[in-house]
Symmetry: C2
């Protein structure tokens, strides 16, 4: 899709390296991964990994980059009419996680953040910018940052149970049923009076 010129080729090689780093961080851990081992897994020269990413921190930064669709999907849901927005947030997250390619990236971000303080710091920053800020900016009232945080508790818990741990009934239900079950909670956090 990207053509065969130097630019397209560079994109492909970099993607290969990122995919190898993602696998290695998730299965061997961040500490056990080296630029050299990533190069070997990706089938490229170690110099190329150094050239594109400089350091292991550079590679981590690339691995922690969420799929482009993620920010866009949350932002689109935040623009829905307020009375439908709870459902829109649940659906947007389910769509991203039901898609194998974006789910793999999101999963590796969560798993890598569990091991490496720098990755956790990056997850915190991305989550604040792409989720909490976007959700709260869409709301009119003074409690909007608290509302965004409450919504995050429900949606992150859904993701952990259904996709990361794969435990309980919520992991086995069709996505539409999950939406029907959780959208009312998210909607309450958006608009109901808080205690």
């Amino acid at each position: 899709m990207t053509g065969r010129g130097p630019r397209g080729e560079r994109g492909e090689q970099a993607e290969k390296i990122i995919a190898a780093a993602r696998r290695s961080f998730a299965t061997c851990g961040y500490a056990s991964t080296s630029l050299r081992s990533v190069a070997q897994d990706a089938g490229v020269d170690p110099g190329l990994v150094h050239y594109y990413f400089r350091t292991k921190t550079g590679l981590l930064e690339a691995v922690m980059q969420p799929p482009e669709a993620f920010g866009a999907a949350v932002a689109a849901a935040a623009e829905q009419p307020l009375h439908e927005r709870g459902r829109a947030f649940v659906q947007a997250n389910l769509r991203l996680w039901e898609d194998a390619a974006s789910a793999e990236i999101l999963r590796s971000i969560i798993l890598t953040a569990a091991q490496e303080p720098a990755a956790l710091q990056r997850l915190r920053q991305l989550f604040s910018e792409l989720v909490l800020a976007v959700v709260s900016h869409s709301l009119p009232d003074a409690e909007r940052t608290l509302r965004a945080s409450l919504i995050a508790t429900q949606i992150v818990g859904l993701v952990m149970n259904r996709y990361i741990w794969q435990v309980g009934d919520i992991a086995a239900l069709p996505a539409d049923a999950v939406t029907d079950l959780l959208a009312p909670t998210v909607q309450r956090y958006l608009v109901d009076p808080l205690p």
Copy 2:
């Protein structure tokens, strides 16, 4: 507390080894941890680690053991009158996570499960037995396993945002305020008609 006889001493040594394994799994990753490195970190002879835990899998099993208070707290909450049970579940979890010692164990279980499939399998089993089964058995109706799973989504999401990622308003509020905010959701999952 355990005396100085051989039995107390064995317990202390084993606890030291488990604590070292927990730190190593969480910071260096399961794959990079060896019985030898754990022995070194614990300041004991490698033969002792082998003697108590046999293999790295044996050590993993010990690390994945939740605090005794965990199962007891969930079970006690499940025995509260139904109309107060939502609040009881939230409070029980907050109490465990606000306690530094039990929080450290629970955190290491979650972090280790993020890296190692055997640990994830163990977490899934413990979570099913100690949380989902206990919550659902306390309920009278046919939807009880679904209700338990819904409650788990809310509580796990709370734990991830507040204690593991430490992100958003929910991470900064006093525990009592968190209880007031989340107990109504858990209560609805316990008793309200489901879609």
